[in-house]
Assembly symmetry: C2
Homo-oligomer: 399 residues x 2
């Protein structure tokens, strides 16, 4: 079934898989063409060259079109302006389409020394924030004929990845959402351009950041408006720049408006981690009557991301505390999970797709030698059901 459908994917390489090999793919492996011209006007040759199942090469296309391989490369590479006649170019394209030619990526890479491929290093795939970042990066990459291969650092956010073994090809650059110092050093040693997401500047060629200091400011303002003054921090147990920024911004903002940071509990970035940390915070007091509002129990938990916040939600419920009546909870990221739980999470929405897009954009700029300015993307608090007015000590216990 010669179902030939031209996929107009916009890029120049036609992706057709026509298998109608009725054409005379002239020359095969035998390079005997050294003598005179391959007579084009001769008898219709038998299909000789298609050896079983190997993919056609540029030479096959050249033979079919009656030109040399160099011409095929010129035409298909798009650089034939003024070097090849329009008719010849068209016949080359026709032959390529007919044979279902696709250039050998390995050979092209070997020749060019570049791959038009970026590696995206993310800490985990279980947080769909990074899936969205990837989507944004792929979108921009695709528009520039670039590819993105994803490397989920398997051991978690602090492990050293082996990017080169993962991407089974040479790389033009790396976009890293988080990297262990030693892996970063290895990368730098390799001389690869590196764009860091949500990381400190320095030791990389460009950064794309999300304005989490402002995000924390919005969180604190929101909670202060609701009357909260005693706040705890469910922090990520990760030594990473972003999380330091969050902690510092939270501390500074709370101090600036006269609220108290009661305590900070660190835990791994997962629902289970948030559950454990929030339990440690909430269970230390008010055991007798959970509905009481003891002085040493915070009325709001600010969590470093949505996974932790969902864990905090569970912890509160297990301890018999209602959210948001007894305790408010906030997250960061606004992943799908945030609206899947009940109550829905008040959280800081990060423009994940734009992060990925800006990261890829920055990498492209670096590769082209253009100067790149540090990107800082704005964030926005999304108030939902997990935050509410601060419970007043007297009003609650007596119905």
């Amino acid at each position: 079934m010669p179902e030939q459908h031209a996929s107009a994917t916009g890029n120049r390489g036609g992706d057709d898989h026509g298998t109608g090999n009725s054409s005379d793919t002239g020359n095969g492996r035998g390079d005997g063409d050294g003598n005179g011209t391959a007579n084009s006007g001769g008898a219709p040759g038998r299909d000789t060259a298609n050896r079983g199942r190997t993919r056609p090469t540029g030479h096959d296309v050249a033979g079919a079109a009656g030109v040399s391989q160099a011409t095929v490369s010129l035409v298909l590479g798009g650089k034939w302006q003024g070097r090849v006649s329009a008719r010849t170019a068209e016949s080359v394209r026709a032959a390529a389409r007919e044979l279902g030619y696709r250039p050998n990526l390995a050979a092209r890479t070997l020749r060019l020394g570049r791959t038009r491929t970026a590696l995206l290093v993310v800490p985990a795939l279980t947080n769909d924030f990074f899936a969205t970042v990837h989507r944004g990066a792929v979108e921009v990459a695709g528009a520039h004929d670039f590819g993105v291969v994803l490397y989920p650092s398997p051991e978690g956010i602090t492990a050293a990845p082996d990017p080169f073994a993962s991407a089974r090809t040479a790389l033009d650059g790396v976009i890293a959402s988080s990297m262990a110092p030693e892996a970063l050093a290895a990368l730098r040693g390799e001389g690869l351009p590196l764009v860091m997401l949500d990381s400190d500047e320095g030791a990389c060629d460009a950064t794309v950041n999300v304005d989490l200091a402002d995000g924390m400011r919005q969180v604190v303002a929101h909670l202060r408006e609701l009357g909260h003054r005693r706040i705890a921090h469910v922090a990520a147990d990760v030594d990473s720049w972003t999380f330091e920024v969050r902690a510092r911004a939270l501390r500074d903002r709370l101090r600036a408006c006269g609220a108290t940071l009661l305590r900070t509990e660190r835990s791994p970035l997962s629902v289970a981690g948030g559950l454990a940390a929030a339990t440690r915070i909430l269970a230390t007091a008010g055991k007798a009557g959970a509905a009481d509002v003891p002085e040493d129990r915070p009325t709001a938990l600010v969590c470093d991301d949505d996974l932790l916040a969902v864990g905090a939600l569970k912890a509160a419920r297990r301890l018999g505390l209602r959210v948001p009546q007894d305790v408010s909870v906030t997250g960061i990221d606004d992943v799908a999970l945030a609206t899947a739980v009940e109550p829905e999470l008040t959280t800081v929405r990060l423009p994940a797709e734009r992060v990925g897009a800006a990261g890829m954009q920055a990498l492209l700029s670096v590769l082209e030698g253009r100067p790149v300015e540090a990107v800082r993307l704005p964030v926005r608090l999304v108030a939902r059901g997990s935050t509410g007015p601060c419970p007043s000590p007297g009003l609650h216990g007596s119905p």
Copy 2:
């Protein structure tokens, strides 16, 4: 880190093990060179022009060790038994380590025609089931010196991916969790080995399935034990083999035990989709008093996956129905989300990691020409809080 591993394709002799390979993990990255290599004189190797910043090649190593490039390839490829003396081999390895040599993957691929790389096609990364599948595949692949590159089909489960443009290198095979027919045809046309996960047999070289018919049997048995007789199906709006299996198994099992499949609502595979579908099912009756148990409202919702089930949870809550007192909900997959919500989901746990591992294993078998038998992995119902006894019409409404 240049973990050079002897690739033993175990062609026939197959005595691959015992390669006391050089575990040069974390070799001195500090030796970045700073011109380090004092090219040993006296060797036939001539100019070893270290051109500034380019990566060292096999020729550079050869020059440094005073041998030919062929010997370098022999030694580093592990095939030097009886062809190179132990002392020479060691000096080659030392030179490679010193220079930080890493073989050029593109050149190797071009030469060998194989890449030891598999493509894993998954429908979406927002469902962390597939992240776990990926982990399983990577684990097995790594043990065989294979790589796995991930291709998230961006347009959802039915879109046609372009795997070849995605994986920026040639591929040895494909493991596909779901593919549109035209993409599958393209793959077959390319002659690539293909392992399908949770798909129909036929048109591929091997399949790895999860016993979802049995899973549905367990779900129905569980609900029947709790007394449920009127059941609705929140189905995936996807024309895919697995989902057909689920639907048929549910229908057959319900009929076999005398229960009724009240209706089926199809929706996209997401929390929002589940919310919409379950709302359509639950809102059609009992508007006046939600706590009533009208005859046309199901007492249990069986959902095609956990995302849908979480959406159903939300729908019930929004309609004022309690889970599980008023309505029970079940999912499939047992992803992290299942225990993040409240109540926790009763669901069918699928061995995601084993699926990925078995898929990679099957692909390796196909590549080596060994026969592969279809794999079918067992599943297990995990009863949690989202299912409870069927509400009896009289007992509930009057406090």
